[in-house]
Assembly symmetry: C2
Homo-oligomer: 242 residues x 2
């Protein structure tokens, strides 16, 4: 893990960009030395530069609530080499959605390889991040892509709680995997998200094996998650990571 640049954000947050085996990432920690704090991994749909303003806002929130936050670029996104098969699957998906055709096979082609590549990368990032001073487990996962958060929660024992954003497609074959997730979950669903399959999100929430799972559905469209869900997320992680 090489740190490539560092800056201070408002509120005394220390932001460090890094690369890990060629994958760009960002780490946010408290500005002043403190006892080690639990880590929250910030999920996103890919494209760190494009997502930066929202990621930095979420990270500032997390650090203010007593956590460290980190994220890495997704395979095929941002400055990483594009995947022609993923680009093709994404184009096919948009076409099928526009034509109201079945999408299950395309979702499998798009999401399963992404999850298969991303999850080992996030676990390697965890190894490196938890070796740094000032950061400790247990670890939370927060955000989308929900299929990545699902797989991480299912296979990575250091993930103790997950706040998942139900805003993207999940292969039907992963519903069995959802039953094996047992950590506390908070699932955010934008009820009026036109690009999202609401019934799939509800079915997936139902499938999760966790004894403590909470669904928060709100209005405001895909990107309109209400501000108070930031506070609710902090409280969820405070209950389970402290």
């Amino acid at each position: 893990m090489q740190f490539t640049c560092e800056q201070r954000l408002d509120g005394g947050v220390r932001e460090r960009e890094f690369t890990l085996d060629g994958i760009p990432g960002v780490l946010w920690t408290p500005g002043s030395a403190s006892a080690p704090v639990p880590l929250i991994l910030l999920g996103h749909p890919g494209g760190l530069r494009r997502m930066y303003p929202r990621l930095a806002a979420r990270a500032r929130h997390s650090v203010a609530a007593g956590f460290a936050a980190a994220t890495i670029e997704l395979p095929g996104a941002g400055e990483r080499p594009a995947s022609t098969s993923a680009e093709q699957a994404r184009a096919d998906l948009l076409r099928a959605l526009a034509a109201d055709e079945p999408v299950d096979a395309i979702v499998d082609r798009l999401v399963l390889p992404l999850v298969g590549r991303a999850v080992p990368e996030w676990r390697a990032a965890l190894d490196a991040l938890l070796a740094l001073p000032g950061i400790r487990g247990p670890v939370g996962y927060s955000g989308g892509v929900i299929a990545i958060g699902l797989r991480l929660a299912a296979v990575e024992p250091r993930i103790a709680a997950a706040l998942l954003f139900a805003g993207s497609f999940v292969p039907r074959s992963m519903f069995e995997e959802a039953r094996r997730v047992t950590v506390p979950l908070q699932v955010l669903l934008q009820w009026d998200d036109e690009g999202n399959d609401r019934q799939l999100a509800l079915d997936l929430f139902d499938a999760f094996g966790s004894r403590e799972k909470t669904l928060h559905a709100n209005m405001g469209g895909h990107t309109g998650v209400p501000w108070f869900e930031g506070d609710a997320g902090d409280r969820f992680f405070a209950r389970h990571l402290r």
Copy 2:
């Protein structure tokens, strides 16, 4: 409104029982004099004595969060004269549910007269309560019976926010009324509540006309609402009643 008895609860909460036109009720206020606080009406399924421990716990929570809380007995429940038609409808409903038969017509017979009688009583209680020193609007409604909360939110302009418990039947004819509800809503749904129609609750949430509406679904069965929803409810009312 006649106060019939008064006591102090833990945490300096003042509890007063009252009757209003023969209807028993309870009022909880801060123990020491303060500027007037907004009022939260506590809904319940009927039977004040039976429900008292849970109502008092919710009321203490509300007073600690800076509100007054009050409730009245439902028509036909507790010490109030029983309604033979309601008893009959309740028995018919249980029989129909056990036999997996359609319940819509029975729900209409059970719930519509209850709502029709209860809502004017709650509005009269509001008149009396808001005339007391130390209590002010805007007013929140919190709890079940969801059909009563729905009607109150639709017709009573002093209700500025409602936290509804989706744990009982709602006549299909009231879905049109739900579209006319515009105040901020938080709807609690116990996801694994076997006695509840989950799809009806989701359809009803969808029907509400409010631009700010949030669904919180949790595990734990009908009576197992997690403790952290008490705090979430306080924060919801703090956003909208202060």
